[in-house]
């Protein structure tokens, strides 16, 4: 479901853990970003952040229960792209995830998604109890 109102494109999708559905959503959002002149670097970071958020929602949130969808909402305007990624899980404490960049954690194969989201997006916050990620990317100000 999506529409354009005033100065933004907004919509939502409830998706299953199916690569085709995730890819179709990614392509749709990338087209909206391209139409609003978000650059290659912004689109790379947003695509990666959405992928990490959606995968976390299915794995850690929904515990891979195929009956549980992940909901994605977006609102994309000329300068800001906002997203909500909501799973059906019980939530978690994002601050309890070990820092994957510490030398002693470098060889652990998981736990990097949240730090990538926090790095690439301008803002990212989990709403209590931790099953609802809100994140946004703001275009850098031009001089």
């Amino acid at each position: 479901m999506s529409s354009t109102t005033g100065d933004s494109d907004h919509g939502s999708a409830s998706i299953a853990e199916d690569n085709r559905q995730i890819e179709a959503l990614q392509q749709r959002i990338d087209q909206l970003l391209a139409a609003r002149q978000f650059g290659d670097a912004a689109r790379f970071g947003i695509r990666l952040s959405l992928e990490e958020a959606i995968v976390n929602g299915f794995h850690h949130g929904n515990q891979r229960d195929p009956s549980k969808p992940v909901e994605v909402r977006w609102n994309i305007s000329a300068d800001v792209a906002e997203f909500h990624v909501i799973d059906q899980g019980e939530g978690f404490d994002p601050d309890a995830v070990p820092d994957p960049t510490l030398d002693e954690n470098l060889e652990i194969p998981s736990g990097r998604g949240i730090m990538l989201i926090r790095t690439y997006m301008s803002e990212a916050a989990y709403h209590a109890p931790g099953n609802h990620l809100e994140m946004c990317y703001r275009k850098p100000a031009t001089r």
């Binding site: 690569n19 992928e51 990490e52 994957p100 960049t101 060889e107 998981s110 990538l116």
Partner: protein
């Protein structure tokens, strides 16, 4: 039962297992699991494997793909071998830097540079 098409190409170059990907995006878990399984099979069939993974043509990479690389690196080290990476485009290399994994892996600009001193004389 059908077999999924291979997601990697593996060629022997002077005793080095050179690996390339067939996909532009290494994001989704089924693909990553398949790549991990194919690499594991190839590595376990070799003694002290020297492996070069060339990222030519790869546009996107997720943290799950990084996890698979870490697992493959551990397996290669356990078997007395060595892993090198090459041809990583700048936007993807930035992901390695953010996660500090550039410290864990030996990364070269080109496959030719990675091959220097790596293959059989």
């Amino acid at each position: 039962m059908t077999t999924a098409p291979s997601r990697i190409r593996v060629v022997d170059v002077n005793g080095v297992m050179r690996v390339e990907f067939t996909d532009r995006d290494i994001l989704d878990e089924p693909s990553i699991r398949q790549i991990g399984a194919e690499l594991t099979r190839a590595i376990e069939a070799a003694n002290a494997p020297r492996v070069l993974i060339c990222f030519q043509g790869v546009e996107h990479l997720s943290s799950a793909a990084l996890g698979a690389l870490i697992t493959v690196n551990s397996l290669i080290k356990k078997r007395g071998g060595q892993l090198r990476l090459s041809n990583i485009k700048p936007s993807i290399y930035e992901v390695f830097v953010i996660t500090k994994l550039h410290k864990l892996f030996q990364v070269f600009d080109t496959a030719e540079q990675a091959m220097q001193g790596f293959g059989r004389a």
